[in-house]
Every structure is written in C-alpha cells, then in structure tokens.
C-alpha cells in the first residue's frame, strides 16, 4: 500500500510537469493547446538520440532535450498560436490539433513508427524502514516539489511572474498599463513547453516511447487542468497529485482501468463544479 502511494506521488509529479504549461497557456492566452504534449514527445525523442552520443550520460542529454524544445515551441507560438488570440476556441482547438498531427508525422518520419526501448538511467534503490524505493522515482518527486516552490517564488517575487499573474486575471488591464503582454505570453508558452519536455524526459524511462505517447498523456493533462481549474496554478498542483494518486490506487486493483478512472473523476468533478470556460 505504501508503494502504491509512493507511485501515486511520482505519477502526480509527472502530471504536474506536463499540465502546468497547459494551465498557463489556457489561463493567459485562452488557447486550448492541443500541441502542448508534442513538445513532450519531441523532448523524449531528442533525449534518446543524444544519449548514445554522450556515452549514456543522462543529465546532459536531458538538458539538451529540454533546450531543443525551446526553438520549436517558439516557432509554434510565433506563427500559429499568436495569430489565434481572441479567436473562437474552436479554431484554436483545431489549429493546434493540426500542429499535433504534423508533429507526430514528423516524428514518425525521423524516428520511425515502432516503439523505442529505453531503460531507467538509475537502477539504484534506497532502503528505508525495511522497504526499498527506486531512487529515480524519489528524484522525480523531489524535482516536482522544487519546481512548485520555484514557480511560486517566480510568480510572487519576480516582476515577470507578477505581470503574468496579473495577465491571468485581466489581460486588457495589464495591456493598458503599457506592458507588452504578448511578449510575456510567448515566454510563458516556451516555459510551459520546456516543462512538458522535462516531464517527458523524466517519464520516458518508466513508460513506452512511441510517436503517439504525447496524445495519451495529453488527455490526462487536460483532465488535471479541468479538475484543478484552468489557469489556476495551485489548483493544478493539487489536482495533479490527486489524480496521480487516483491512477496509482486504481492500477493497484485494476490495472487497465487506471487512465479511465481519471476521466470518471473528471466527469464527476465537472458535474458539481460551475463551468466558466
């Protein structure tokens, strides 16, 4: 049982990485970004490409993977998303889905359709009160906590963070103060995409690597964002861990039902929550 809770925390951490960017893009730009987890899969594939080059060094390869996502996400933001500000949600939805289709196809073109093998970079275990925990999963959880605290500080203490928080609340108001909101949105988009890539890089060793991997986690990330409230950063944090726990607990008793249970929880939450978006 303790193991289950522990796994729930690590899944929750991954969900948090992936959905924070989604929540930010939705909250600031009112764009439902279907292409968000495209960067997640690209990050993983870049990582896999670079690991043999670096003689199996995981951390530099991960850094390269996350940096590689930055220009790609900038291009997506600059040429597609920016042109969709203020449009009806349907069009942004369709356009970003189209980007996903193109991206997945590009991945297939470059790396092939078949799943790639990939194993945990750290197979050490930590003994703790007579139980063994894989260090890797502890590390994921620790990074999530650090990231959460870091983002909290970022949004409260730095001027950039404050501008973004203000823009989440009232975009036009911030613009009236003479702040170029678009620039900050662009920055947020890139940070969100890089975080998704981080999630992908950390999750890849414990999941399967295939071109459609982004789509399956995207649905989960959407569930997290909806349950947590769109654009609500702390809500995203809590709901990511809550849903991660739901997944882990379901998987313990009924392994195929894990992902579906998340959607059932989401449907129940939606039944009782006022809908604003």
């Amino acid at each position: 049982m303790l193991y289950t809770i522990f796994y729930g925390f690590s899944i929750g951490a991954i969900l948090y990485f992936v959905s924070i960017g989604l929540s930010l893009t939705f909250g600031t730009m009112r764009v439902v970004n279907f292409a968000h987890t495209l960067t997640y899969s690209i990050g993983v594939y870049v990582l896999i490409t670079f690991i043999p080059w670096l003689q199996g060094n995981f951390i530099p390869a991960a850094v390269i993977a996350i940096l590689a996502v930055v220009p790609i996400s900038y291009l997506i933001e600059r040429f597609i998303i920016r042109r969709l500000y203020g449009e009806s949600l349907d069009y942004t939805f369709i356009a970003t889905f189209a980007i996903t289709l193109i991206g997945v196809d590009t991945i297939k073109l470059i790396w092939g359709v078949n799943p790639l093998p990939f194993s945990t970079p750290m197979s050490t275990y930590l003994d703790f009160w007579g139980m063994t925990f894989p260090v890797y999963r502890i590390l994921i959880f620790a990074i999530a906590i650090v990231l959460f605290l870091g983002l909290e500080l970022f949004f409260r203490k730095t001027i950039v963070g404050k501008i973004v928080v203000a823009a989440l609340d009232d975009k036009d108001g911030v613009r009236c103060l003479g702040v170029r909101v678009d620039k900050y949105f662009s920055l947020m988009f890139i940070i969100g995409s890089a975080l998704a890539a981080l999630g992908g890089v950390l999750y890849a060793p414990i999941s399967a690597v295939q071109p459609y991997m982004g789509l399956s986690i995207l649905l989960l990330a959407f569930a997290v964002v909806i349950v947590g409230g769109m654009g609500n950063l702390r809500g995203t944090f809590i709901s990511a861990f809550a849903l991660g726990m739901v997944m882990a607990l379901t998987a313990r008793y009924w392994s195929q039902g894990a992902e579906t249970m998340v959607f059932i929880v989401m449907a129940i939450v939606l039944c009782f929550r006022p809908l604003d978006a």
Partner: protein, 339 residues
C-alpha cells in the same frame, strides 16, 4: 463561420425560412442524383461508405455548425450504435431493421444520459468532456466488456435478409444508405428551417440573449444533443451493417478529427456543406492515402490552411459566388470582381 460575423449585432439573418415543398424535393433529388453519378466513377461499395459518413457528418454539423459546440468525441455515439446493433444481431435476433432501431435508440438514450452533463459546458470544456467520455466508452468495449465484445478483435454480425432485401448485396446496401441519407437530410432540413432550428442557431450566436428572451436554452441544447447523437447512432448501425463487422476502431478517439475536418472543409453550419465535406474527406482519405504516404501531415497542413484562410469551406465559397451573380450588376462589389 457564418455570414453574421461581419454584422456584429442583431439577430442571425433568417435565411431560407419559407422553403417551398417543390424546392425541398428538388434539393433531395439533386443530392440523390449526385451520389448516383458518383457510383460509376468510384465503386458502389465506396459510395455506400461515403454516404454513411455523410450521415455522420450531418449529425456532427447539427452540433457544431448549428449549435456551435465542437465535440471531439462524437464517435462515441456512432460506436454505441454500431455495438448495440452488432450485439443484438450476434446474441438475440437477426432482424436488421429492429437492430438498427435499437442502435439508434441506444445512442439517443446515451445522449439523454450524458446530455445534461455535457450541454452545461461550452467551448473547450465541452470538447474535452466529449473526448473524455469517448475515451471511457472506448475503454469499456476494449477491456471490461471484453467477454461480450471480444475486445480488440471485434466480432462479425451477419443480418439475415428480409423478404427481397438481401443485406449482403452491394446494391441493397447502397439503396438503403441512400434512402436513409436523404431521409436524414430531409428531417434536418425541416428541423433547421423551423423555429426550433432558428433558436438553436441563435444559441450559437449569443446564448445569453436567447435566455433573456425567455427560452430555456438548456432544454433546447439537450434536445439538439440527443438528436445529433441518435443520428450518429444511425450512422454507426449502418457502418456495422455495411461491414458486417464491429471492432473498437469505430469509436477510436483519434479518429474524431476526420469528421471535424469534413465539416470544416465543406463549410460548417450548412447541411450541404456537411455532405460535400463528407464526400471530400472520404475522397481524400480513400485515394490520397494511396499516393501520399505522409497522409496525416497533409491532413494537418490542410486543417491549418482552412483555419487561417478558408473558413467558409467549399459550400460557403460556392454560396458567395452564387450571391455575387444573383445581385443586379450595378451593386456588385468591385472587390469581388474575380469571384
């Protein structure tokens, strides 16, 4: 989008309200002849496929084009129809018509159940909830109901012939699909031209204003949702009848993009648009996939082009050209000279 965008305020222009009976008959005749012309060009089996997809596109268009709710999980209802049809044929009886009726009713019933939850949401929430429900349905037939649905492999469902109707004959299937398509088209045409249809379109334009007028928009949205899901269920039963086979692919979440694409390329918010878009999409997916290997990329690129440059779709552009020539020469806008 629709023509109302440029006007900004004011009610949606009520076009083609008093349609004469003869005109409607003409329209149906034209569509029927159109599909008959397609038969010698491409094989009859494929045209049947096209028409079934068009029924599905029509139901999607009612939801998206008319009511403005983009559902990314509409295949759930198609799949429900197909599965109920298949299971009835497989386990209980072999009368195809009864099974089709049950399939449609089941999809409609699912719409009644999920409708109250779904229609509260708008925009992104609606799409994502539809997606989530579709995923749950897909999972249900794939895994927990495996002992009756046979999981990933699916199962065969052979309907016995009724009188002279032999369902394994291609011609019979073609005629059945054609008649049902024309029936659906007729019903939707009547429905969308009725006061109810105008109300649904007004909900798309501005729901708050409709509520101010004293209408219970919640109820109308629910009814529309149920109608759309029933028609999708009909398309599902026909798919199963046509292939004599049901597998979870019929409600695969990732296939939903097809009908969205069809509706957009044809021109959303118009029944002709849905039919033209359905045919166009099926043409592309059937033939282009042979020549272009990277066919998903093509789909993505063309969707981007549609969103940025071609929002009215094929039918919207045809309408524009028609409008241009219908005007007296003096007031034709100069900018459209090339049209």
């Amino acid at each position: 989008m629709k023509q109302t965008d440029s006007q900004g305020i004011g009610p949606a222009p009520v076009l083609n309200l008093p349609v004469k009976k003869e005109k409607r008959a003409m329209e149906i005749l034209i569509i029927g002849i159109g599909f008959l012309i397609l038969v010698p060009l491409i094989s009859i089996h494929r045209v049947t496929d096209f028409m079934i997809f068009c029924i599905f596109a029509l139901s999607f268009d009612l939801l998206y084009g008319y009511m403005g709710r983009l559902s990314f999980g509409h295949l759930l209802y198609l799949g429900t129809g197909a599965y109920i049809y298949g299971l009835l044929i497989k386990y209980f009886q072999t009368n195809a018509f009864l099974a089709i009726l049950c399939g449609v009713l089941a999809a409609g019933f699912l719409g009644i159940l999920l409708g109250p939850i779904m229609v509260r949401a708008t925009g992104a929430c609606f799409s994502l909830m539809a997606l989530a429900f579709n995923q749950i349905g897909f999972f249900l037939v794939l895994s927990p109901l495996k002992h009756i649905t046979n999981g990933e492999d699916g199962f065969g469902a052979h309907a016995q012939s009724i009188g002279f109707l032999n369902f394994s004959s291609k011609t019979t299937m073609f005629l059945l699909a054609l008649i049902l398509l024309l029936l659906v088209f007729y019903v939707l045409k009547r429905l969308t031209a009725s006061p109810y249809g105008i109300l649904v379109r007004s909900i798309k334009e501005d729901e708050n204003r409709v509520r101010f007028l004293g209408y219970n928009t919640y109820f109308y949205k629910w009814v529309t949702f149920v109608i759309a899901s029933s028609i999708a269920g009909l398309a599902g039963t026909l798919t199963a009848l046509n292939y004599k086979f049901v597998n979870p692919n019929v409600m695969d979440v990732h296939q939903n993009v097809g009908v969205v694409f069809a509706c957009l390329i044809g021109g959303a918010g118009n029944l002709y648009g849905a039919i033209i878009g359905g045919v166009a999409y099926m043409m592309i997916s059937n033939y282009l996939a042979i020549y272009i290997h990277r066919w998903e990329m093509f789909l993505g690129l063309s969707m981007l082009i549609i969103v940025f440059k071609f929002r009215k779709g094929i039918w919207g552009n045809i309408q524009d050209i028609g409008e241009y020539f219908r005007r007296p020469k003096e007031i034709r806008p100069a900018a459209q000279k090339g049209a």
